[in-house]
Each structure stands twice: as C-alpha cells, then as structure tokens.
C-alpha cells in the first residue's frame, strides 16, 4: 500500500522526486516483529499524520525514517538515497536536513535552554556567539516563549514549555522535513492546540514536509493533509497489511474498515474483547 502525496515545495532541485520512500520495510527486535511490509511515499511540502494505538510501531516507523533504527528488511530512501548504503558521515549529512521533536522533548538536561536550541548551530555552522544568540531568540519567539528562560535548565520548565523548546531546537537549522513524535501527549487541551498551531505555523513559515505521529485525532485532523493508520502486528494474518488506512484526513470518518472507525470514535469495547481473547481469558 502506498501513500503518494503531491509535491508542492520546490526548494530542492528535483522537486518531483518523493522526499521519503519506504519499500517493504520490516523491523524486528529479536523475536518481536514491530513493522512489516511498510510501503510509504511522502512527497515534499505536505503533512502526513501516522495514527494508531499505543505499541503499533509509530515511533519505530519515525526512527526508521531518520536512520536511528535499521530495517530488518526493505529500504528507506531519503531524497532518492538509500540510507542503508550511506556511510556514517553521509548519514549525518542527511540527518541535519531533519528536525525531530521527541515525545518528551529529549532536551539535554545538562545544558541551558539557550545551549539546547543553539546546539546544532554550534555543531554544524561557523556562526559566532552573537549570530547564534540571534537565531536562538528568533526561534524562541516563533514558539511563543519569553527570553528570560534562556538561562534556565530543562527541568525548570513545564511539559508544554519543554515541547516548545524542543520544537525551537528542531527548527534551529531550518530543516526540510520535520518529524513529530506524539507532539501533544501529556498536555492539556489548550497546550495541545498550541502545539497544533505551531505545527501549522511552522509549515507556513518554512517550506517544510512534516510527519506527525500521534494517537490524538484532533491533531491528525487539524494538521495533516493525509492520514495513515497502522495496526499492531499480533492480530494480523500473515497476508494482511499493517497499514489499514491511507487517505485524506477529512475522510477518515468514512473509512470502510471497522477498526479505523472504532479508533476515530475512541470506542474500545470490541478491541478490549479482542485483546482478552488474544491473551486467552
């Protein structure tokens, strides 16, 4: 099953080429099978939401796309280049074209907020301290945070602020593609919507392609052009695809598959019975 999105952004020479192509990707952790036969194509400039219940492999999918995990089988191509064929140096060169917002923000505890946001600028550019500070301030303003937090450590911030700092850090190098791992998890409805708005404004301000992994349907509906739903592997028959829905985000309510509509409505009764059956109770 392929998800092909029409290209719009043209900041790379060959704008017709899909930015990400996954073909037959399978990821196993020892005897545990997490992803199977994933075929996914993401073109430039659009936002894709990957939804699915906890443990279905959404985060693993995201980490496979950026090369943090290597697929057991299949290939992941970023801008036409197979990540498995790249040297460590080349892979690093590709990775800095990504921005990654982690589920718990993953800010560096030992650094201040200013050092966190400026980290990639210090690593990969020749900018001086003043230039870096200007970029840091610009990113901080973009995510709506005050300047007086720059000297603080991540532990001194609330969850929502940490997420926004994480977003500012991910945007520091102006990435071509943003990966969001559960951006609204653990936040109140208002702060969740602030994050959704930031995802939208990021897309407006930078010509960025985005993949948002979430189980929050509000986020998926609001920010995504297209939605992919993954289903956990244990229930599946050997020939059943793991992606059980792909299509526009505003049509997901009309999905023919009962499992999709149950997920969208947040109804767990049948799923609970199925889980009990699987566990032999």
């Amino acid at each position: 099953m392929k998800i092909v999105m029409v290209a719009t952004a043209t900041h790379i020479s060959d704008s017709r080429r899909p930015l990400i192509q996954m073909e037959g990707v399978k990821v196993d952790f020892g005897r545990q099978h997490v992803l199977r036969d994933i075929d996914l194509t993401v073109s430039r400039g659009k936002t894709l939401a990957v939804i699915g219940e906890s443990g279905c492999g959404k985060t693993v999918l995201l980490k496979t796309i950026i090369g943090l995990l290597r697929p057991t089988r299949g290939s992941v191509r970023f801008d036409g280049r197979n990540l498995a064929e790249l040297s460590e140096r080349e892979l690093t060169g590709q990775r800095i074209r990504f921005g990654f917002l982690f589920q718990q923000a993953a800010l560096f505890d030992s650094m201040t907020i200013a050092q966190n946001i400026g980290f990639s600028l210090r690593q990969h550019t020749n900018k001086g301290a003043n230039e870096i500070r200007n970029v840091v301030l610009a990113r901080l303003a973009e995510v709506g945070l005050p300047e007086n937090i720059l000297g603080k450590k991540p532990a001194e911030l609330s969850g929502g602020m940490r997420k926004r700092v994480g977003l500012a850090r991910a945007l520091a190098l102006e990435p071509e593609i943003m990966l969001y791992d559960e951006p609204t998890t653990g936040l109140d409805p208002i702060m969740s919507d602030v994050i959704n708005e930031l995802i939208l404004s990021t897309r407006r301000q930078h010509p960025v392609t985005s993949i948002v992994v979430t189980h929050d349907m509000r986020t998926a509906r609001k920010v995504a052009d297209r939605v992919v739903m993954l289903y956990p592997l244990p229930r599946l028959r050997a020939d059943e695809p793991q992606i059980i829905y792909d299509g526009p985000s505003d049509r997901i309510e009309q999905a023919a598959d009962n499992r999709v509509s149950q997920f969208v409505r947040g109804e767990a009764r049948e799923r609970l019975m199925e889980m009990r059956q699987l566990n032999g109770r």
């Binding site: 690093t92 982690f102 993953a106």
Partner: protein, 292 residues
Amino acid sequence: METNPTSEIRDPRSAFGGPLGAAVDWIADFGGVLIDWLIGLGNIATFSLRTFGWLLVRLPRKETILPNFYQIGVLSLPVVALTGTFIGMVLVVQSYVQFRNMHLEAKLGAVINMSLVRELGPVLAATMLAGRVGSAMAAELGTMRVTEQIDALVTMGANPIHYLVVPRFLGCLMLIPALTIMADFMGVAGAFFYAVYLLGIDSHHYLENSRHFVGNFDLFVGVFKSLFFGAAIAIIACYRGFNCDPGAEGVGRAATTAFVYSFVMILLLDLLLGIALDGIYYALWPEAPKLF
C-alpha cells in the same frame, strides 16, 4: 488435575528424558550463556575501538572536555586524598605490632610505602574513581538513553561516542595518574604521621629505609597501571550507560554493574600488569633480589 494444553508443548531440548535430557539442557543453557557473553565482549570491543577511533580523528571541543575534567579530577581529589591518608594510617596500625615483635619497626616505612606506591595508591584511586565517577557516568548516560537524549544527539548530527564518551574517556585516562599520585602522597604522609608522631618510630630510620627500598620504578609501576584502570573505568561505565535497560530500574542497574564490573576489571588488570611489570623489572635489572 487438568493439564493446560500449552504445557504439552515441550522444549525440543528436553526430547531426551532422564539424566541425558538434564545434561543436554545444561549444555544448551551453558552454550546460551557463553554466546551471550561473547556477544557482550564483541560489543564492548567495538565500543572501545570506536572510542579510540574518535581519539585519532577529532578531539571534542574545549567546552565539552573541561566540565568532564572538573567532574572527574577536581571533585574526586578530596575523597581520594582522604581515603589515601586513612589507608596509610591503617597500614601502620595493622603492621606495627608484628614489626615491633621482630624489632623491625624502623623498616615499617619501606614496606608500607612500597605497598602504597605500587598497589594500594593506584587501586584505591581507581576504586574511588569507579565508585564516584564511573557509577555517576553510567547513570547519567543511562538516563540520557532512557529519555531519548542520545537519540536526539544523533538526529542533530552529533556522534554520541565523540560527544559523550571521548571527553569522559580522556578525563579518566589523563586525570587518574594525578589522583594516584595524590593517593600515594597522602598515604605516605598519613603513615609517616602515625608512625613517627603517634607510635614514636624514629623518623630518620623510617625515611632512610623508605628511600632505600622505594625507587622511581615503583612509582612508575603504580602510575602506569592507573592509566589502564582509568581507561577501563571510562569504557565500562559509558558502555553500561549506553546499553541501559529502560526505566528507573535499568538506570540503577547500569550504575551498579558499572561499579562492579569496573572493580573486577581493576583487580584483574592489577594482577596481569603486576606480573608483566615484574617481568620487565627483572629483565632490566637481573641482579635485583627475587622471591623465588
């Protein structure tokens, strides 16, 4: 009693019954443990080689190295000095009566200072480093692993071995000789103070015997061994942190195992290097007195 159908599925290893089956099971289990151990050994060897590789390719920036040096060297100094002093004094307390019974108390300085400089100084400094710094490094890196900070480093194009391991490795390698010399010095001073001022041993003979028996090679042996201890502590602690199991329990276990493995490795290296350096000593000075 009814039998659960799943219990009918037997491990193929147990196809043999009785003592033969038990022996097959034992061999299979032993093989499994051996394979896991070999995989672990291979992984830590690869981890070490990658660390050494980065040392040759590019050193970390000053602002990454200095905080680690401060943490490893400066903050460890008081505890190493204090324990070194006490060890020197304790050696005098434990040896004095036996030496006095043989009327050899003036020789006490030679024995104690030799033990301190060759063995106890380096081992004590390394043990304190493993306990104070090694466990903390494993816990810190383990927490970074669990909270995805190491993944974040990779996504931002930084190599975690270069950024996190190399500064800690350099800190342990370069500062443990200083800590060892501090432990030696404080141990020697503590022993001298207790022997001369509290037990009344003649200071001239105490020092003269020490000077006669303890040479530069003994000091070199202690400092040389400490380099290996420092490298082992850093590699083991960082490896345990990087391969930390999830959750608070995983981080705790990483810190504990980092200390235990480091301590065992310190003692093993101490034995092997002691034998090797003795061999070198007698090759250089064949006329030196031998035990056998």
